[in-house]
């Protein structure tokens, strides 16, 4: 069984395949005894884990202790709150971020760089789950505000349809514990993930190939980019050029 098929089995069982992928996968299951056996084994272990893994009960005392500490915290709250916000205001780009990410972000150092395998994994995850976008729109005036309202930064979302790259939409991803904007373009049958985050001074342009996917790293206009796709490298370089040139 290929690695992709193995991951698809898990995603299918977990109800995480897209609707089209699901139908397609069921068709393959009907024809493939090895896949069916894999599915049966997975079902067994899944039931075993859910049935037998221990759910550790919260000691009642802990609930009381937490509530007691929260009550003690109340009078000092305003003071702490002011301190917290003023420290945040110092790093203005952080203030607009959702609290989801606030605990992780405060620990972030400058010059952050996601690992290459995380970038590729994210693209592959979107592909297997057929979940390319959180906001589906070919209108950049829809995608851009959607992203900036969730991220606290506002990446350029150029319309490149005249150049043969159709905008499909955008999503918010987490790479190495940090949120990034992901623009999704399509050329012919190839989907392209464009990961964008602020920063990137001094980043050298580079390209690499992993597991048959081309990846290009560059920076432009104060943003860092990774582009990932199974599209050929030349056309992907064209996209990188288009994204780097001021529109």
């Amino acid at each position: 069984m290929t690695r992709d098929d193995e991951l698809r089995l898990h995603a299918y069982l977990d109800g995480e395949l897209g609707a089209t992928e699901s139908v397609e996968f069921e068709r393959r299951l009907a024809d493939d005894a090895q896949l069916r056996q894999g599915l049966a084994e997975l079902r067994t272990i899944g039931e075993r884990i859910r049935g037998q893994a221990r759910y550790h009960e919260c000691p009642p005392r802990l609930r009381d202790q937490v509530l007691a500490r929260v009550r003690r915290e109340q009078p000092r709250r305003r003071e702490r709150f002011v301190w917290w916000w003023s420290s945040l205001a110092a790093t203005a780009s952080l203030t607009a971020l959702a609290a989801w990410f606030a605990p992780a972000l405060i620990q972030q150092a400058a010059g952050w760089e996601p690992r290459v395998d995380q970038v590729l994994d994210d693209h592959l995850g979107a592909q297997l789950g057929a979940h390319w976008v959180d906001v589906a729109s070919s209108d950049r005036h829809t995608v851009k505000p959607w992203l900036s309202s969730r991220l606290g930064f506002s990446p350029a979302v150029p319309d490149l349809s005249d150049q043969g790259f159709e905008l499909i939409g955008g999503r918010v991803d987490v790479l190495d514990a940090r949120p990034v904007a992901t623009l999704v373009y399509q050329r012919r049958q190839h989907m392209i993930s464009v990961f964008v985050w602020p920063g990137g001074a001094g980043v050298a342009r580079g390209a690499t190939e992993r597991r048959g996917y081309h990846m290009i790293r560059f920076a432009a206009a104060g943003f860092s980019y990774w582009i990932v796709s199974d599209l050929n490298e030349n056309e992907l370089r064209d996209l990188a050029r288009l994204l780097s040139s001021p529109s």
Binding site: T44, Y55, C58, P59, R69, A98, A99, G125, L128, H131
Partner: protein, 179 residues
């Protein structure tokens, strides 16, 4: 108690059980898990204004996860230095005195729990979040701060390891039954 305290009781307190179970699985002991839940709860109180629209349980579990990871980094760095996709972790073998038939079920459950405990933390956390908390890949990705593709490959690896250990247990039980 002011407005924020009331919100905390409404939104956060119902999920302290999930917070404790998650921290307990990651730290593998009651005492440390309790300390972590207390710290995480205070951080949740501080960040409470930011909780809008998202579900409170995955949101709280994200805070518990970050708190636990900092704690592990300080107190048990060795557990985190082993790269999770390098060598296979040791699966506990069934004890040599084979269980009585009537006790096999209990023994199975015990060994399965030991096998989960033996997983490295990055694999253990995705299993707990998926199988015990029933969270979607997307929520797990946000909590653990990893891409969905990594959630998928870690889940697959964790289940493969647990499946192997279950087979070992079953083989032992079959031998018992055949006698």
């Amino acid at each position: 108690m002011d407005e924020r305290g009331r919100r905390f009781e409404q939104l956060v307190v119902p999920h302290l059980g999930a917070a404790f179970n998650f921290a307990r699985w990651l730290t593998r002991n009651d005492h440390d898990a309790q300390d972590i839940v207390q710290d995480a709860a205070l951080r949740a109180l501080r960040f409470l204004d930011g909780l809008r629209g998202e579900e409170a349980r995955p949101w709280l579990l994200g805070i518990v996860r970050n708190t636990t990871w900092s704690w592990l980094r300080t107190n048990r760095p060795s557990e985190l230095t082993a790269r999770d996709d390098d060598e296979e972790p040791q699966i506990p073998a069934p004890s040599s005195d084979e269980p009585e038939n009537s006790a096999i079920r209990r023994a199975e459950a015990r060994l399965l729990n030991e096998a989960i405990t033996a997983l490295p933390p990055p694999l253990r956390e995705v299993i707990v979040l998926r199988e015990l908390e029933d969270l979607a890949y997307r929520q797990i990705a946000q909590i653990a701060g990893i891409p969905i593709g990594t959630v998928m490959s870690r889940l697959a690896r964790a289940r493969r390891l647990l499946s192997q250990s279950v087979k070992v247990i079953e083989a032992a039980a079959d031998r018992q039954g055949a006698r």
